[in-house]
């Protein structure tokens, strides 16, 4: 059937476990049995146990075969992934839950991520596969989750805490509404290699690609120049032209954003806001980043009310209090000067010392 196009994804009904097909749309309630384990009960009385397993997201076909093996053994050959890239084993037979968990632990799988836990950080390509990253993705996520593992394995936080990472401000991780966002940033404009520009780039297209109009022709060099004051390091020029790499070992690094939220539970969705403007790229374990994230998580965890998300907690106590409880220094980079800046300024004498 080669040459066939537009046939679409596999039909979902062909892939659902029998218990799901039978009780489709007829689920009555759920319980959180224990960390990593959900129990859903249908109108019919049927029960479905979900065992959630952390995944590095970047996995080999061997790993996929491994988990298929487990699914054959315990789940009648069915499994699913979550919107945060975790793996879910769906067990209709209660008896199999504990053996499954035992087997998973024995095989070194990470069970958890349900309820008031830190689940799998949504993340991106980084140095693995993209051309504009300001940091690596998988490496930081691994370092951060090793450090925060207890919060994945157990469900002991005041509320959800969603950590996400994106390796440049294109924000493929859509990290901009996360409780804690780790965002790779470039801080230097592209350095121009005139020979490569002359050889490989279509000057007008490159100029057109710059959203801030920072690129001008350099007639003398038959190449380009960048107005450094206008450049916001988006990398669009590099996408068009290999002669304008942005990546720079000292310029590149990580920024930390906090207080975002997606759900409408209690309070509407919120953007994450800048808390730490820059931390250096320090592979393989980015200690500055893991410390910063842990500090924020634990300051929140020890001060927030039950069911209070990071951003809800900060809204209650005020940002001035957030900075002093976390001990994070307040710097000028945190003050907005983009298009909606005035909305972020304080127009009342009512604030805390």
């Amino acid at each position: 059937m080669a040459g066939k196009t537009d046939f679409g994804p596999p039909f979902y009904k062909d892939l659902l476990p029998p218990v799901v097909l039978k009780n489709y749309g007829q689920w009555k309630y759920h319980e959180r049995v224990k960390p990593g384990v959900l129990k859903h009960v249908a109108e019919s009385g049927d029960e479905l146990y979900t065992v959630r397993v952390g995944s590095g997201r970047l996995v080999s076909t061997d790993w996929i075969r491994d988990v298929c093996g487990i699914a054959d053994q315990f789940c009648g050959g069915h499994l699913r992934f979550t919107s945060r890239h975790n793996l879910e084993f769906l067990v209709s037979d209660k008896e199999k839950v504990e053996p499954l968990i035992a087997h998973l632990k024995e095989q070194g799988f990470a069970v958890g991520g349900t309820g008031h836990a830190i689940s799998n950080p949504v993340h991106t390509q980084g140095w693995i596969h993209c051309h504009t990253p300001a940091t690596d993705a998988s490496g930081i996520v691994k370092a951060v989750m090793d450090d925060l593992y207890e919060y994945f394995a157990d469900s002991k936080l005041p509320a959800y805490c969603r950590i996400s990472l994106a390796c440049c401000l294109n924000m493929c991780g859509a990290v901009h509404c996360s409780d804690i966002a780790i965002l790779g940033i470039h801080r230097k404009p592209p350095h121009i290699n005139h020979d490569t520009v002359r050889a490989k780039c279509e000057i007008p297209n490159v100029i057109a690609a710059c959203p801030t109009g920072a690129i001008r022709p350099d007639p003398k060099e038959k190449s380009l120049t960048v107005n450094e004051e206008k450049c916001m390091y988006c990398g669009n020029c590099y996408t068009m032209c290999p002669g304008m790499p942005l990546a720079d070992p000292t310029g590149d690094g990580v920024s930390i954003w906090v207080g975002g939220k997606i759900s409408s539970a209690r309070t509407p969705p919120k953007f994450s806001r800048l808390a730490i403007p820059f931390l250096p790229n320090n592979p393989p374990r980015w200690p500055e980043v893991t410390d910063a994230v842990r500090n924020i998580v634990e300051t929140w965890a020890s001060h927030a009310h039950k069911h209070e998300r990071m951003g809800e907690w900060i809204d209650r106590i005020g940002w001035e209090r957030f900075f002093d409880l976390t001990g994070i220094p307040f710097t000028v980079q945190l003050i907005d000067d983009f298009t909606l800046a005035s909305e972020t300024f304080r127009s009342t004498p009512a604030f805390k010392w």
Partner: protein
């Protein structure tokens, strides 16, 4: 292929409780030179603290304008096996349900043509097959189509839509997210596979306001299940939660954003003034056994969500407070088409829907797509006097 150099930095990422992507790369590297070169190029990036990929020309497969991301190493001499290392975006099934059989077929195809490395899944939701040379793209796609896997989106097209687990496993689902997703994906195959728009366009579907696919933050069209009548209450179960130690006053009632609940601790009776409820889900989330969404279900449609490039991130905005969502979903599909048409006509290159609405104004958008203004669309009315009256409005 690179000589078998050491990877001291990456090796440190094999330790610790969290699953290690390094271990996975090494597993693939046993069989695949490309995986091995990837490992070593990555080690180099860890040393240099910069990436070593560059953007390449457009690559792809016959009949498709997208679905493959071209990628080239900037150190091809040292790492020849990743000199060309393109990825496939393969359209995942609704809500990421698989049979082991299908997954194994996928693994076989990918071991045959590619690096043996994948992302399960990409941030948009696709199955990402990570790294194949240009020569393998067409053969690989042909084998994928054999096993019934089609490509997802890339470039200026509709991107692969995604949805939450919804009715398959969640009692909160107010719409059939899996079916709607499949139906929309099939309806818009052409838009998905052949870039034709000013820029990318994303659709994400969540079954309730918890929005488990984060549609409000990262899709041009956010479809979020909701209901129009009253929360269903099972008083006995409410009492049970109380008996089992939930402090209903402080955990539920006090956190209700509209303060439309009251708890009679003596009688263990919860009352809800549904007229004032905004369906935030908090109380239902806490007491799923006792509280359930109403019966008159449908979806709220929001548009415009996106990441920050270039004018700042946007959250989707309500444009249809309530729409029934039943197969074949004609009303929804027609709305999407109408909006795409307007965007297509008016959008500049690389201008997302939300940015266009901001540039031309919500008024122009509503008029063009024929939606009536309602207060549910706004958080608050304008605070500035700069309404430009149209002559016909001034009588």
């Amino acid at each position: 292929m690179a000589k078998d150099s050491k990877t001291p930095l990456l090796d440190q990422l094999e330790e610790g409780p969290w699953p290690s992507f390094v271990t996975e790369i090494k597993r693939a590297a046993e069989k695949k030179d490309s995986a091995k070169d990837l490992l070593h190029q990555l080690e180099r990036s860890y040393v240099d603290r910069i990436g070593h990929w560059k953007h390449g020309g457009i690559v792809g497969v016959k009949g498709y304008g997208g679905g493959v991301i071209g990628r080239y190493s900037d150190l091809p001499e040292e790492f020849p096996a990743v000199a060309e290392f393109h990825t496939f975006r393969v359209n995942m099934p609704s809500a990421w349900f698989y049979t082991t059989e299908k997954l194994r077929q996928l693994c076989d195809v990918w071991d045959k043509h590619g690096s043996g490395l994948t992302n399960m899944h990409g941030a948009t939701g696709d199955i990402i097959l990570l790294g194949a040379p240009t020569s393998e793209l067409q053969p690989c796609f042909d084998d994928l189509s054999e096993i019934g896997f089609d490509l997802g989106g890339s470039g200026s097209d509709m991107r692969t839509p995604s949805c939450c687990v919804g009715p398959a496993r969640c009692e909160f689902a107010c719409i059939d997210t899996l079916d709607l997703l499949y139906s929309v994906t099939m309806e818009f195959q052409d838009e998905l596979h052949r870039p034709m728009f000013p820029y990318k366009s994303k659709i994400k579907i969540s079954g309730c306001p918890n929005d488990c696919v984060a549609s409000v933050a990262r899709s041009d069209f956010s479809v979020i299940g909701t209901w129009r009548d009253s929360i269903r209450v099972d008083d006995a179960e409410v009492a049970n939660y109380a008996n089992e130690g939930m402090d209903i006053q402080s955990e539920v009632v006090d956190l209700c954003p509209t303060k439309c609940m009251a708890w009679d601790a003596g009688a263990k009776k919860l009352s809800i003034d549904n007229g004032e409820c905004n369906r935030c889900m908090h109380c239902i989330n806490l007491m799923p056994k006792a509280l359930r969404p109403g019966k008159e279900k449908g979806a709220t449609i929001l548009v415009g969500g996106k990441a920050p490039i270039v004018r700042g991130a946007l959250l989707s905005w309500v444009i249809v407070p309530f729409m029934k969502m039943e197969p074949p979903y004609t009303e929804f599909k027609e709305l999407v088409r109408k909006i795409w048409e307007w965007w297509d006509e008016n959008g500049k290159m690389r201008e997302r829907l939300g940015e266009l609405i901001n540039r031309l104004g919500m008024r122009a958008f509503l008029k063009a797509v024929g939606l009536p203004p309602v207060p549910q669309m706004i958080r608050a009315p304008r605070a500035n006097p700069y309404y430009f009256w149209e002559p016909e409005e001034v009588k």
